[in-house]
Amino acid sequence: MTSHSLLDRCREAVSLACRLGASAAEVFGQTVDSVNSTVEKNDLQISKSQFETAFGIRAFVGGRVGFTSTNNVEQIQSACRDAVALAKASPEDPHNVLPEAVPAPPINNLYDSAAETFAAADAVQRMADMLSLAESIDRRVILNDAWFGAVVREVTIANSSGLALWERGSLFTYGVIATAREGARVSSFDFQFGATRTVAQIDVDTPIRRVCENALASLGAERGESFRGPVLLSPNAVSEILIGTLLFQLNARDNLRGRTRWKDALGSHVAVPELTLTDDGRLPGGVATASFDREGVPHRPLTLIRDGVLTSLLHNTYTAHATRSKNTGHALGSARSVPSIGPTNLAILPGNASVDDLLSDMQRGLLVRRFSGNVDPISGDFSGAVKAAHLIERGRLTHAVSGTLIAGNVFDALKSLSGISESREHVYNLTLPYVRLENVSVTAD
């Protein structure tokens, strides 16, 4: 199906839904053309090819809304009929509206034409390269799971307000989960990830080198210590401990639901002045970069927390209408899902300390590279096991620790954190520094 016909199908489906009784309608269409190759247990496994076209239909009947999705082009008519029927069965909600049709300025370099000829055999070769590199670094490392994927995705959206948008992007993603094994000793899992938009910028070396380093470093783990004190989080650990709660609190829909602590906090200090959090759906080369969101609203840069002060929430059309706020263009989802709310390219801006500076200030503490546990986004309480962690004494890393749990509270941590590194790493769509938390409870087995 060509891009032209995909957009035409969406327009036709909008008209059809309206003829079938919808007062307004939106149809989101997508094609996904992907190949990927995988490694398990240090050897190539199955490789896959997929091509799918799917449509997501929202039918509005006054303030009532129903959603259907189908990946069968022949079923669009019945999907439109079902969406209208679902809408009619649902209660009225005046905030179920379509966004205004606003032009979305196109973004360059989302698509690399070289992706068109990137076949399953190419993905297999990249995967083989990753495996060879890991083996050349250290044979104790086992790539438990690794993958290389290439996808070309076209998205279109049309609605009864006159919106008609189309965009195409390519994305190459690669990740690795590895352990190190020496005799009966098995290290913690480590996970590393990389992504790019263009064939020329594919870099599988960096995640492989990092995963080997971290898996090997945790191989000789010893018993830790119990104390209350500072913990230095790697960008991966920042993602696992802080980001989920931040996104929950920043989600305007969760605020409307009355679930968030920050529901009345706009303009208030929610973090130390050193912390600034941004989101930019137009970031050049970003994993989540696109000119418009799931509802066709243009993306633009947004500061969510500036110098510790909450300055904006993430909105889609529903929440913007319900709270009389500006729509920030953060409707998230695919043709298979109702538009929700989520970030695009989220970043904590860099601090002014090196990672070594942050370490050297710590008399007794812990470096945490991964966290496996509970983080309650409502209370902010976190508790769980640390992985690939090192004990810090008198400003130096001493030894890797195992069987160690940490517990604390995200809200307290944001207001008391004592350092943000100047260096940052990409964790999928996140760009994050090292962050040092204070007064964390550390319990050793």
Partner: protein, 465 residues
């Protein structure tokens, strides 16, 4: 479709597996009185797996014509050939087994199709309203109904030809309570393989609502536990989670070959003699477990696999490829989530067999410790069987009696050390993981359960210094 797939498989130049899969999902989400989602999603296509030169290739298509499916067969074969050229240890092939043939209908007295959208919507609106109007402390409510109706045709070039029908409904109920800026969250779920009446056989939706209200409010006044090693009683849900997450993944044969801690330990005592753990595609002890898989996605009939027998590791979980590698029969554990997913080694219903001790005697013969009930928000387990799980509800036990409620509890340790510490297993049994999914690159509906189990493990809590 079955005859078309049969003709294409018969004409293929290599081994192929063709899987037609049509899924119709519905989801109704009500939060705070508002319908946030009323959706229906149809997904239909054919997944093709090919085996060429010791490697697999997979392709999927939504073009259900003969030409479309044959094109997918060609892509799968080419992909397999490319992989075979770069693969180091080529697969020895597929274990030979009696493959399923015939029709496999869903067992239900009350099909979901007999209940209207309006009835299902009315239920979630009513439960949501019940939660919101219950208590001044309850600030947010949610009720979600979801159902998944599947029709599959699985045909392989070596003899499988199965037509399978399945339905898996689920209900999720949530309450959030708040007092003096402190918020707590309580969740109850149900999920089965079956129809409408089977979904609510374990408990009525109104009772689920009562439970989340009570839990969310009670947690507001609960204290946090002191961190450290403790004797605990795990409820059937946590027993299921431990069995699935911390043990089950380490005995999936693909993980075993990747270096999981169970590699080379068949025949070794790895748990207390009181522990017998199984995985079964049938619903053992109690019907309608959500992981019920009468025929797996390679066309292998369901089996009950004894993983641990009286504490001794007896078997891994296999697909046809790993079974051939280990020279054992496949265990019916190859599963794919949608038509566009390839079958992976996955669990179905994983559980510990009930023992002979009455539940009250587990408490009566216990000193101080904790009674832990339900899986919390998250958890994880590694291939070395180290695990960490959040706990939904917890109480201190003092001198064999339940005393005060505590909150924010996590448990962690090494799963095999935990199982070696088991000193009592109750004689009851429940499936308790029906509403959730297992993630392993692709989702899978799985269940877990068992009796109550008493053991020793580490409680995550607070340190004072």
């Amino acid at each position: 479709m079955q005859s078309l797939l049969g003709e294409i498989a018969a004409a293929a130049s290599s081994w192929v597996e063709l899987r037609y899969h049509a899924r119709r999902s519905k989801r109704l989400v009500v939060r705070n009185g508002k319908v946030e989602e009323s959706s229906s999603i149809d997904l239909i296509g054919v997944g093709v797996r090919s085996f060429v030169g010791g490697a697999f290739g997979f392709a999927s298509t939504t073009d259900l014509s003969r030409a479309g499916i044959e094109r997918a067969v060609g892509i799968a074969q080419n992909t397999a050939a490319a992989t075979a050229r770069a693969k180091r240890n080529r697969s020895t092939g597929l274990a030979v087994v009696d493959l399923a043939r015939g029709t496999f209908p869903l067992q239900t007295d009350d099909p979901l199709e007999n209940h209207s959208l309006e009835e299902k919507l009315e239920l979630v609106l009513k439960i949501d309203a019940q939660i919101r109007s219950s208590n001044d402390c309850v600030v947010s409510s949610e009720a979600t109904y979801a159902e998944m109706l599947d029709e599959k045709v699985i045909v392989t070039s070596d003899g499988a030809s199965a037509h399978i029908f399945d339905a898996k409904p689920a209900l999720r109920v949530l309450a959030i309570a708040e007092r003096d800026g402190d918020q707590t969250r309580a969740l109850e779920t149900l999920g089965v393989t079956g129809g409408w009446s089977e979904l609510f056989a374990p408990r009525a939706p109104e009772e689920m609502a009562e439970r989340v209200i009570r839990l969310a409010v009670d947690q507001l006044s609960a204290k946090r536990p002191t961190g450290g090693v403790a004797q605990v009683i795990l409820d059937p849900e946590l027993v299921g989670v431990l069995s699935h997450e911390a043990i089950g993944h380490t005995v999936e044969a693909d993980f075993v070959l990747g270096g999981a801690i169970t590699a080379g330990k068949l025949g070794v005592q790895i748990a207390s003699e009181l522990v017998t753990m199984c995985d079964s595609g049938a619903s053992e002890h109690v019907p309608h477990a959500v992981g019920e898989t009468l025929v797996d996605d390679e066309g292998v009939p369901a089996a009950r696999t004894v993983i641990i027998e009286d504490g001794v590791l007896r078997s891994y979980l296999h697909n046809r490829e790993t079974a051939a590698h280990f020279a054992v029969p496949p265990t019916g554990n190859a599963r794919a989530y949608t038509y566009s997913d390839e079958p992976l080694v996955r669990m179905t219903n994983t559980y510990i067999e009930p023992g002979e001790t009455k539940l009250e005697d587990l408490f009566a013969s216990m000193g101080d410790g904790y009674y832990l009930r339900g899986f919390g928000a998250s958890g994880q387990a590694d291939s070395n069987a180290e695990f960490m799980f959040g706990v939904r509800e917890a109480w201190r036990v003092h001198d064999g009696r339940i005393t005060e409620r505590v909150r924010g509890v996590t448990i962690s340790g090494n799963a095999f050390e935990t199982l070696l510490s088991v000193d009592a297993v109750s004689d009851d049994f429940r499936w308790e993981q029906g509403a959730g999914y297992c993630g392993k690159g692709q989702p899978a509906k799985v269940d877990g359960g068992g009796p109550h189990v008493r053991c020793t493990l580490m409680i995550g809590g607070e340190q004072s210094d």
